[in-house]
Amino acid sequence: MFKRLIVLLMMTVLSGCGYNTLQSSDEDIKATWAEVLNQYQRRADLVPNLVNVVKGYAAHEKDVLTEVTEARAKVGALQATPELVNDEQALQKFIAAQGQMTSAISRLLAVAENYPQLKADGLFRDLQAQLEGTENRITVARNRYIAAVKEYNITVRSFPSNLTAMMFGYQTKPSFTVENEQAIAQPPKVDFGAAAPVNSH
C-alpha cells in the first residue's frame, strides 16, 4: 500500500515539477540547434561558389577574397557538434567565427556592388539570393534556438522545477548573447563619401 502511494506520489511530483517539461524543452533545444548548424553549414557550402564567381570578374580584390576564404577555413576547422551547446566557451568561439564570416561575406558583397558586369551575372545573382535567404534562415533558426533555450532555462531556474533539474543534473544552457548579437548583426559599413561625386555633377 505504502509503496503504491509512493509511486503515485513520485509520478505526480515528477510530472508536476517539470520533469517532462525539462525533457521536451531539452529535445527542443537539440532540434533547434541542429537547424542552426544546418543553416550555417549551408552558408559555408555556398561561400566557395561565391568566391569563384567574384574571382572571375574582380580577381584583384584580393583583400576581401582572402578574408572570406580565411573566415570560411576557420569555420570549417571548428567542430560544429551538437554537444557545442553545453560548452559555453566553445559556443562563443563558434559564434565569433560565424560572425566573422558574416561580416566577411557582407564586405565581399559590398565590393561586388562596384562591378556592374558581376552584378549582372546570373549565377552571381542566384548565389546572392541564396546567401540572403540563408542569412535569413540563420536568423530564424537562431531566434528559435534562443526561444527554446529560454524556455528550458526558465524551467531549470524557476521553482519548483529547479529542484527536479538539480536532482537530475540539468543545468542552464548558454545562448546567443547580446554582445555577440551586436557583433554579428552589425550592418556592412557603407561609405557615402565615396558615392557623393556621382551626385555632385
Binding site: E35, R125, D126, L127, A129, Q130, E132, G133, T134, N136, R137, T139, V140, A141, I154, S158
Partner: protein, 294 residues
C-alpha cells in the same frame, strides 16, 4: 520578519515581471491572415480581391497548397523578413506536415515585398527562384504602379512553380480538419442528447429524435454532406436505441412536443465552409524565400 517580507515581495515582483515578459514576448503588431487576400491599404479594388481570392481558392482545391497575399502600408520598425516570418508563424499557411504555403507580403510605403516560402516548397521555389519571381515577374508591374497586375502575375508564376512539385492530393471534401471535428462533435452531441432524451421521452422516440436532430445539425449547422449526416443520424439512433436500458418503448411520461424544436434554431448560421472564413492549415516556415524592392 521585515526581510522575509522584502524577499517575498521581490520574488513576487520578479514573477510578475516574468509574466509581463512572457506576455510581451508574444508576437505584437502582426496581422493574422483570416482571408487569402488581406489588403490593409485598400490598394486593390473589391473585384480584384474577389477575383484573386477565387483564383487562390481554386488552386488550393486543386493542388492543396495555400497561397496568401498580404498588403500592408509598412512593416516598420521591423525588417520585412522579420515581419514575414512572424506572419508565417502566426498564420501557418499551408497544410500541416506538408508545409506547402507561400505568403506574398507587399509593404507598399516601404516599396518592399517578400515571398515567404514554406518548408515543403523550398525545393521547387528555392530562394534564388523566389528572388527571380520578385525581380522578373512582380516588380516590373509595381514600378509602374500596377499593384494588382504584379500580384496577379506573381501568383500565377508561383502556381506554375508549385504545379511542378509532387504534393499529397487535396482532401476530397473541402475544409478537412474542421469537418472531422464537426463530425465527432455532432456524433457525441447527438449521443448525449439521445441518452438524455430517451430518459425523458423513452428509448424509441428519444433515439429517433436524437438521430434526426444530429443529422439536421450536421447538415445545417456544420455543413457536412448528406451522406455523413445520414450516417451520424443512423449511428446515434442505433447506439442510443440499442444501448440505453431503463425505460420501455412505451414508457415516455412526457409529451414529445418540446424536444425537437430546440435543434431547428441553429439553422440560422448557415454553412461555415464558404470562402469568407479561411485560415492556415498549420504549415511551418523556416525563413525561406526572398525579399525585393522596387
Amino acid at each position: 520578519m521585515l526581510s522575509s517580507i522584502f524577499f517575498r515581495t521581490r520574488y513576487g515582483l520578479g514573477f510578475f515581471l516574468l509574466l509581463c515578459c512572457m506576455q510581451a514576448w508574444a508576437v505584437v503588431g502582426v496581422p493574422e491572415l483570416s482571408r487569402r487576400v488581406t489588403d490593409l491599404t485598400s490598394t486593390l479594388s473589391a473585384e480584384q480581391v474577389v477575383a484573386l481570392e477565387d483564383k487562390l481558392a481554386a488552386f488550393e482545391a486543386q493542388k492543396g497548397s495555400q497561397i496568401a497575399v498580404l498588403i500592408v502600408p509598412s512593416t516598420q520598425p521591423k525588417d520585412i523578413a522579420e515581419f514575414g516570418i512572424e506572419v508565417a508563424d502566426l498564420s501557418q499557411i499551408g497544410r500541416k506536415g506538408v508545409d506547402d504555403g507561400v505568403i506574398m507580403i507587399v509593404a507598399k510605403d516601404d516599396r518592399k515585398l517578400r515571398l515567404e516560402v514554406g518548408y515543403g516548397l523550398e525545393g521547387v521555389i528555392p530562394d534564388a527562384v523566389a528572388k527571380r519571381v520578385i525581380e522578373e515577374t512582380i516588380t516590373p508591374y509595381f514600378k509602374v504602379g500596377d499593384y494588382a497586375g504584379g500580384i496577379d502575375a506573381g501568383v500565377i508564376r508561383l502556381m506554375k512553380l508549385i504545379e511542378g512539385e509532387v504534393l499529397p492530393p487535396p482532401p476530397e471534401n473541402q475544409g478537412d480538419p474542421q469537418d472531422e471535428a464537426a463530425f465527432m462533435m455532432t456524433l457525441f452531441g447527438g449521443l448525449i442528447a439521445g441518452f438524455v432524451l430517451s430518459l425523458i421521452v423513452g428509448r424509441l422516440i428519444g433515439s429517433m429524435l436524437a438521430g434526426l436532430g444530429s443529422g439536421m445539425v450536421a447538415v445545417l449547422f456544420f455543413g457536412l454532406t448528406l451522406w455523413l449526416a445520414l450516417f451520424i443520424g443512423i449511428m446515434v439512433f442505433a447506439i442510443v436505441g440499442l444501448l440505453v436500458g431503463g425505460r420501455d418503448w412505451s414508457g415516455g411520461g412526457y409529451g414529445g412536443s418540446r424536444s425537437g424544436s430546440s435543434w431547428s434554431g441553429d439553422s440560422g448560421f448557415g454553412g461555415s465552409s464558404g470562402g469568407s472564413s479561411w485560415s492556415g492549415g498549420g504549415g511551418d516556415f523556416g525563413g525561406g524565400g526572398a525579399s525585393g524592392s522596387w
